[in-house]
């Protein structure tokens, strides 16, 4: 009897030791990569903590790299098999990673495509192919018009512009020039190199009655009357008698941060940096509508995807992790910590979020936002920069310059879709 008891106890100890051992052996470790941004890292740490508490047998390690070189770093490491199991990518890179078989589709069972279509903001559908999604965002971004409240008050302006015409009017009031005619304070910051190329493509062109691309972004369509009018409007902003100047204070956001510009079009990711700027009192409003009240916005996002490196139990863990970081809870945490907009209307368009003084204009902008399907964002941006420079520096006509840009961009798209 006694012996049996002892034996049972020993057996119990052994099995419990075994359980401990086996659970230790079962602890799966997966790696997650994103770029370095204080708030994003903080938010992800919080998400990982929550996730690990709910899944004690999974450990997630996060690695992050400097933003400017993130793409280079990821491109060097992942093909070499050194990469993570779950990776954050810009939506515009997805095609390359898909074609190179570096990421795998999300399992349709856990990520039903139709349900995602119904739940997420519509632009996320760019990540869908057939019945499966390849990647999903936690948060999305859009553009809005920031304005300097102090300058507005000083000039006796009641509130931010609602329409493009109002924007011109307010901008003219705020623009100051020195004796030689050089701008010393701009009504509106300008620069295709910043966010203006998005504003032009998805904002102005549509507001002037055009459609920037056709055929699921495979055909360039801004070399039209609408596109030319949009470009005339844009370049006119920086002409004499305009409300800004390209290259004023080097970079648009620098001019706004230094309090030398009244208005500034930028993305939601700039909020944190503006908040840190001492002595700057700013407000934000939706992008101005055209005379008919039409508004249009651009939206972009970073997605999370599972790499082909994740196999077996790591794959299962990666799927669970993906489910968590695209959940409602994760989106709200991301909004609170990073200030980026939830990717689902059900989370984003809550009364509280949509009326938030800071996030509200961006979230409301999502409702009428389009996402350009870039094949090479920097190259496509460069073409619009050059289009403006040809007019400004070489005296080319707007029609010719825009036609040249459109032809070059079409070639870029054709080359890409021919080889993918």
């Amino acid at each position: 009897m006694r012996f049996t008891k002892l034996k049972a106890a020993a057996l119990a100890t052994a099995t419990s030791a075994l359980t401990v051992l086996s659970s230790a052996a079962n602890a799966v470790e997966i790696e997650y990569w994103q770029y370095f941004f204080d708030a994003r890292v903080a938010a992800m740490e919080q998400l990982i903590e929550n996730f690990q508490a709910a899944n004690p047998d999974i450990t997630v390690t996060m690695t992050h790299f400097p933003y400017a070189d993130y793409r280079t770093k990821v491109a060097a490491a992942i093909p070499a098999g050194e990469g993570p199991d779950v990776v954050q990518l810009f939506y515009g890179w997805l095609n390359d990673y898909k074609a190179a078989e570096l990421i795998q589709p999300l399992p349709a069972g856990d990520f039903p495509a139709d349900a995602i279509d119904a739940e997420f903001f519509p632009m996320v559908s760019a990540m869908r192919e057939g019945d499966s999604y390849w990647a999903l965002p936690t948060a999305v971004r859009s553009l809005a018009l920031f304005y300097n409240e102090r300058l507005f008050e000083e000039a006796g302006i009641d509130g931010p512009p609602e329409t493009l015409d109002e924007m011109l009017e307010i901008g003219a009031t705020l623009t100051e020039r020195d004796g030689a005619g050089n701008i010393t304070q701009a009504g509106l910051t300008m620069g295709m190199n910043a966010q203006d190329h998005h504003w032009f493509r998805e904002g102005l062109v549509r507001q002037f009655g055009g459609e920037p691309y056709l055929d699921d972004y495979k055909t360039v369509n801004y070399n039209t009357e609408a596109g030319q009018k949009a470009m005339e409007f844009y370049i006119g902003l920086g002409e004499e008698g305009g409300i800004g100047a390209i290259g004023f204070m080097d970079e648009p956001q620098a001019a706004f941060k230094a309090g030398r510009a009244g208005m500034h079009i930028d993305g939601s990711f700039r909020i944190g940096s503006l908040n840190k700027t001492r002595g700057l009192k700013w407000g934000v409003t939706e992008l101005p509508a055209n005379a008919d009240g039409v508004r249009s916005n651009y939206s972009s996002y970073w997605v999370n995807a599972i790499t082909t490196k994740a196999e077996g139990e790591k794959y299962d863990a990666a799927v669970k992790f993906m489910q968590y970081i695209t959940s409602d809870e994760a989106m709200q945490i991301w909004l609170d910590v990073v200030g980026e907009l939830p990717a689902k209307p059900s989370v984003g368009l809550t009364e509280e979020n949509a009326n938030n003084e800071t996030f509200g204009p961006f979230i409301r902008g999502l409702a009428y936002a389009n996402t350009t399907k870039f094949v090479n964002e920097s190259a496509q941006r460069q073409l619009l920069i050059d289009a403006v420079e040809r007019v400004k520096l070489q005296g080319a006509s707007i029609a010719d310059s825009l036609a040249e840009a459109a032809a070059a961009e079409q070639k870029l798209l054709d080359d890409f879709y021919a080889s993918n």
Partner: protein
């Protein structure tokens, strides 16, 4: 066995013994990746996927790419302006600094400091200097004297010299130091002999100093040419936002290679341009070594 070798043969043995490790190093760390790059220039590779053969496609693309020819021209402008300007400046400074006693160390340090400071930080300081009013230092000066503003960086003609200036500025200190090391390596006895013969100052300069500085000059000509043909840091940092300046007016070959590789992920095209850069550098260096050889 070693004892039976002739003196010349012994030298060969020593030479190869000294070179053995370095040769292995260069073959593995340098030649192999270089050969690899040459191979990739005949392939299509986006860094992520597999490589496929493309034959001469990358080179054809290059030949027909107007941007490439613009970049090609820019690269040579950097060389043709940068090398003589920086060599003459640094020699003049080194020559006079060599003859200066008072605060010699301090002055030398002033000239050398730019070379030691982070190229990225300095490129941005220069970039700010070049801005229009209200933030640009140079244009503020001009405005104070009532002189019209100059667009330095947002101009297709001024931008390249404006970027060359900080590149010359940053490298000057190093060239001065090398010139001074060269000047100090000239044995005093030559100067003493010249003094006894009563030779004029200019003759000393042209008949003793410069000929004896020849190895130093050869080194600096070749080295600074390579430097200007490979200019990157200043251009990259002073033109972020519109890389390569307005309408590619300042873009050098290395920036174009960098963009092809890490912005467009077109490794084959980047490699083809690398091969062209390699050939340019090789031809220019060999030509310089040939022209400056000992006759």
């Amino acid at each position: 066995m070693y004892k039976n070798l002739s003196i010349a043969q012994k030298h060969i043995v020593w030479a190869w013994a000294f070179l053995a490790l370095p040769v292995v190093f260069y073959v593995v760390i340098r030649f192999y990746p270089t050969a690899n790059a040459m191979l990739i220039s005949f392939q299509d590779w986006n860094l992520l996927g597999s490589r496929t053969w493309a034959g001469m496609e990358n080179y054809q693309k290059l030949w027909n790419d107007p941007v490439f020819w613009q970049v090609f021209r820019n690269t040579f402008v950097y060389l043709i302006l940068g090398t003589p300007i920086s060599l003459v400046l640094s020699f003049v400074v080194a020559y006079h600094l060599d003859k200066t006693r008072f605060m010699h160390g301090t002055i030398r340090m002033l000239y050398f400091l730019p070379f030691m400071t982070s190229a990225v930080a300095m490129a941005w300081v220069w970039r700010w200097f070049y801005q229009p009013v209200p933030i640009g230092l140079f244009n503020n000066w001009l405005a104070q004297f009532g002189i019209p503003q100059i667009e330095f960086l947002r101009s297709t003609t001024n931008a390249l010299p404006a970027i060359l200036a900080p590149a010359v500025w940053a490298g000057l200190g190093f060239q001065i130091i090398i010139f001074m090391a060269g000047l100090r390596a000239i044995p005093q006895s030559y100067y003493e002999a010249a003094r006894i013969d009563g030779v004029s100052k200019w003759s000393v300069l042209f008949e003793i100093t410069i000929p004896l500085l020849k190895p130093t000059i050869v080194f600096l000509v070749v080295f600074s040419s390579i430097g200007f043909l490979r200019i990157f840091d200043q251009v990259f940092n002073m033109t972020t936002g519109d890389p390569g300046g307005p309408l590619n007016s300042t873009k050098p070959l290395v920036l174009q290679i960098y963009q092809s590789a890490f912005t467009d992920f077109d490794m084959g095209y980047a490699a083809a341009q690398t091969v062209v850069l390699f050939l340019i550098l090789l031809v220019v260096s060999l030509l310089q070594l040939y022209l400056l050889r000992d006759r």
